[in-house]
Symmetry: C2
Subunit: 156 residues, 2 copies
């Protein structure tokens, strides 16, 4: 199976797959390429849609399974978004290199990235006081973004 336009990050990820004895398939390649092309913040359904453009016929379930195995291998990361769909990104893409947590605006559903360091103090606190190891990037935080606050001051 020959292939054409594949970015370095995808090639690297595929190499990793091979090294781990995992199979390199058209579906996985397409999922990785979609993730690398995107700015992050893609939910599974978005990925299904985009994969289907590049590689028609790939089934929804396959995308979910690919994301699952790629996540277990540490190649992609996912963030649960309370009240809506989980979002995914390539762990070794530029956007992911600087670890970040996610904020979602509950009005416009938009995402905002923040440095995980901002969650350092609270991570320390729950660790020392409860022995709880916080995984700050694993869940998005909710609130209202500047734009939506300006548009509807009632929702301050």
């Amino acid at each position: 199976m020959r292939h054409t336009d594949e970015s370095p990050a995808v090639a690297e990820a595929l190499g990793l797959l091979r090294d781990k004895g995992e199979r390199v398939t058209a579906a996985r390649r397409a999922v990785l390429q979609v993730l690398d092309d995107a700015s992050g913040h893609l939910c599974a359904e978005d990925i299904v849609t985009r994969v289907d453009e590049a590689e028609p016929g790939v089934h929804r379930a396959t995308v979910y399974r690919s994301l699952q195995s790629l996540a277990e291998l540490g190649i992609v990361a996912h963030t649960h978004v309370p009240g809506s769909a989980t979002i995914y990104h390539l762990r070794h893409s530029a956007a992911a290199r600087t670890g970040h947590a996610h904020l979602q605006c509950t009005t416009c559903q938009g995402f905002f990235d923040i440095p995980i360091e901002w969650l350092g103090p609270i991570g320390d606190r729950v660790r020392t006081q409860l022995g709880f190891e916080l995984d700050a990037q694993h869940a998005a935080l909710l609130g209202t973004c500047a734009e939506c606050r300006a548009a509807d001051p009632a929702a301050h």
Copy 2:
């Protein structure tokens, strides 16, 4: 419709309902009583089950609708739990009086409450730097609790 054992917090909430011109129904009374009896951390399905014990025949959809209207009125609060069901609690119960955020252990699914103040610094930071108003109690944070860390150090 006469009723019997109803706690002060429930009576207060029902008074509030009446004041706002909302109707006091058996279903709403039962939902409120269940929430007051519980320690919080109940998901809608738990509430359905318990309501059905006190007031048989109340439909799932009615419980959801009650929770929704009670939430809009500010009588109950809900917390989205990433990857699983939303949890609810009475806003004016003892447990809720001191505002708290939620941690969920992704291994044992247990909940832990933390003072909302612990999230103050990060709330300030996103407000000043992004204009984003954080709603810290609206989403649970994820991680691994002390017990599960001890049981499986690999998941540190």
